[in-house]
């Protein structure tokens, strides 16, 4: 079952200005529910741009995007915010954690907007997810005191805490050594067994090989 369907997507940054960048040039992509996909490409090829559009963080300049059958172009800002909260779990390039806060405060953020978990259930939910990622002991530690691998686990915990359908990870292993990177990939792959859809942007062919399918992007165009 198609969960993501991109049709002729274009993205221009700074459109009409002197510094216009045509980052995506007609991307077509179909992702089925439960797939795991690696997006590969050199730096500047448009990987993050594509991921941001899939995750409704950024608007496309042109093209159609059907998410679970619904046309994203027709959604209001409020609806998009709800979609981001309910559908997607982001693992951001270079963690994107708030370093001065505790692990638990970082992980709690998606639940602030959650319609899936009532306030009374939220603490249990956080504990469950921290346990699953083996960082329960770090619950009250400030993020700035964690190692890279631990930070990435926190970032994944935050992405999973609201039980999203699709996990979007942008270079989740680029800052990690290969052993830790493997652990992280195992964590992500494990999610696939629970019916989640995984999309990982990576430079690392060893990481990409662990996923079901690899798509390559070059200068804003996808090659299969």
């Amino acid at each position: 079952m198609e969960i993501i369907k991109l049709n002729n997507i274009h993205k221009k940054y700074n459109e009409g200005k002197q510094n216009e960048v045509h980052a995506l040039r007609g991307v077509d992509l179909v992702v089925n529910k439960g797939d795991s996909i690696a997006i590969m490409g050199v730096s500047g090829s448009g990987k993050s741009t594509l991921l941001n559009i899939i995750g409704c963080l950024d608007k496309m300049t042109e093209g159609d995007y059907l998410l679970d059958g619904a046309n994203i172009n027709l959604k209001t800002a409020t609806e998009l915010a709800e979609i981001r909260n309910a559908m997607f779990g982001f693992v951001l390039q270079s963690y994107g954690l708030i370093d001065s806060d505790k692990v638990i405060s970082n992980v709690r953020i998606p639940l602030l907007f959650s319609k899936k978990y009532k306030p009374s259930e939220q603490n249990d939910r956080i504990d469950t997810i921290l346990n699953k990622l083996k960082i329960f002991d770090l619950k009250n530690t400030k993020v700035r005191n964690l190692s890279g691998g631990q930070k990435q686990r926190v970032a994944i915990a935050r992405a999973l805490v609201n039980d999203p359908e699709i996990i979007l990870a942008d270079e989740p292993t680029s800052a990690l050594d290969s052993v830790t990177a493997n652990e992280i990939i195992e964590v992500l792959k494990d999610l696939q067994t629970k019916g989640k859809t995984i999309i990982v942007v990576t430079h690392d062919i060893n990481v990409a090989k662990k996923l079901d399918r690899i798509v390559t992007i070059e200068d804003g165009v996808i090659y299969y």
Partner: protein
């Protein structure tokens, strides 16, 4: 519900900043109205003591002459329009029991003053009686000069001598006209140690200043060597001259401090807020809601500071000491001013926040 949670997160994540701003603002909201009232607000409330609109267009003149004798001044000025007081010699009362010897000055009230100015408490007859002159005696000499009785008074000898019979109409207990426009501006003065006599001014009597009741400009008297202001000008100057420098200083200090605290704090906190907002956006927050909640937070801090300061000011006003040092009108004017300054101080940081690009915000700065 979302909104409340965003607000809560925003407050808790900037708790220290919020407290610092709250304290600075409460402090300013107390200090500013107090000093504002003392230095600026009060100024517009009161006229000079004794000010009267009916004489506003006449000039008070200080006669800065080398020789201030009446006869000399008559050569330059039209002294028929002079409403004022001329001083002559001092008498030491023969009845005086004060060992240090208090001297009492003999002073003459000009005709213009008696005829054309409100008499205040000094009710001289407009026409001078035959055989004696009417006078008010020094307060301390009540025992010796009885109302209604006639006494001989004499100062100096020979050609300078002034000798007269005076009938006491009362005592110089209240203020009478004293027009001065030198370092200070006054309309009324104190004559407790004077004999105020309504008589022709002797040629050698000394005149320092007075009101010229004719239609001339201050420039005219200045050109004659005097120094003149209209009573209206004096009143305006008096009101602005009343500014209390010390409190004005406090006023400015409080505001400058306030601006610095808020500006610096908020500006530097904005980076952190930008990142947090970016993260919230990505995980389901709506941009406009995040920004709106930030405004609500800033307003909440302001409202809380107003409550705290209003209570303090309330206590100050309720404390009915010797004099009230602030009023509610002033307080609310100051609240309005501070709200504007607060908004201006926050704006720099706030613009930074309001323009946050969610993706940039989180990818650029991994460390805070």
């Amino acid at each position: 519900m979302n909104k409340l949670k965003i607000l809560k997160t925003s407050i808790s994540s900037t708790a220290l900043l919020s407290i610092v701003i709250l304290i600075a603002m409460s402090f300013t909201l107390v200090v500013f109205p107090l000093s504002y009232y003392q230095s600026l607000a009060k100024v517009n409330f009161e006229d000079m003591i004794g000010y009267d609109d009916s004489i506003a267009d006449y000039c008070a003149v200080n006669f800065y002459a080398t020789n201030n004798h009446y006869e000399e001044l008559c050569k330059t000025f039209d002294m028929n329009s002079f409403a004022g007081i001329a001083n002559y010699g001092y008498v030491q009362s023969e009845f005086d029991k004060d060992p240090d010897g208090t001297y009492y000055q003999v002073s003459f009230v000009s005709e213009k003053m008696v005829n054309d100015l409100p008499p205040l408490d000094y009710k001289f007859s407009k026409t001078k009686p035959k055989g004696y002159r009417e006078a008010y005696a020094p307060v301390n000499l009540k025992e010796d000069y009885k109302i209604g009785k006639i006494y001989d008074i004499s100062v100096y000898e020979g050609v300078y001598q002034y000798k007269q019979k005076i009938k006491i109409r009362g005592y110089c207990e209240t203020e009478y006209y004293d027009f001065v426009c030198g370092w200070t501006y006054t309309v009324l003065g104190d004559y407790k140690n004077n004999f105020l006599i309504y008589d022709d001014i002797p040629p050698l009597a000394n005149i320092e200043s007075g009101l010229m009741m004719e239609d001339n400009t201050p420039e005219y008297y200045n050109s004659l060597g005097g120094r003149a202001f209209t009573i209206g000008q004096m009143n305006t100057n008096y009101k602005t001259a009343e500014v209390n420098d010390m409190f004005l200083c406090w006023c400015i200090c409080a505001l400058v401090l306030f601006v610095l605290v808020v500006l610096a704090n908020y500006y530097f906190a904005a980076d952190k807020l930008v990142k947090r907002s970016g993260v919230m956006y990505i995980f389901g927050g709506k941009r406009s809601t995040i920004i709106a909640m930030e405004i609500v937070k800033l307003l909440l801090i302001f409202a809380l500071a107003v409550c705290i300061s209003a209570m303090t000011i309330g206590i100050v006003i309720a404390e009915k000491g010797s004099h009230i040092i602030v009023d509610w009108t002033t307080y609310f004017i100051c609240v309005a001013i501070i709200l504007i300054i607060y908004a201006a101080s926050c704006s720099l940081g706030f613009v930074k926040l309001a323009r946050f690009k969610p993706l940039k915000a989180i990818s650029n700065s991994n460390t805070e």
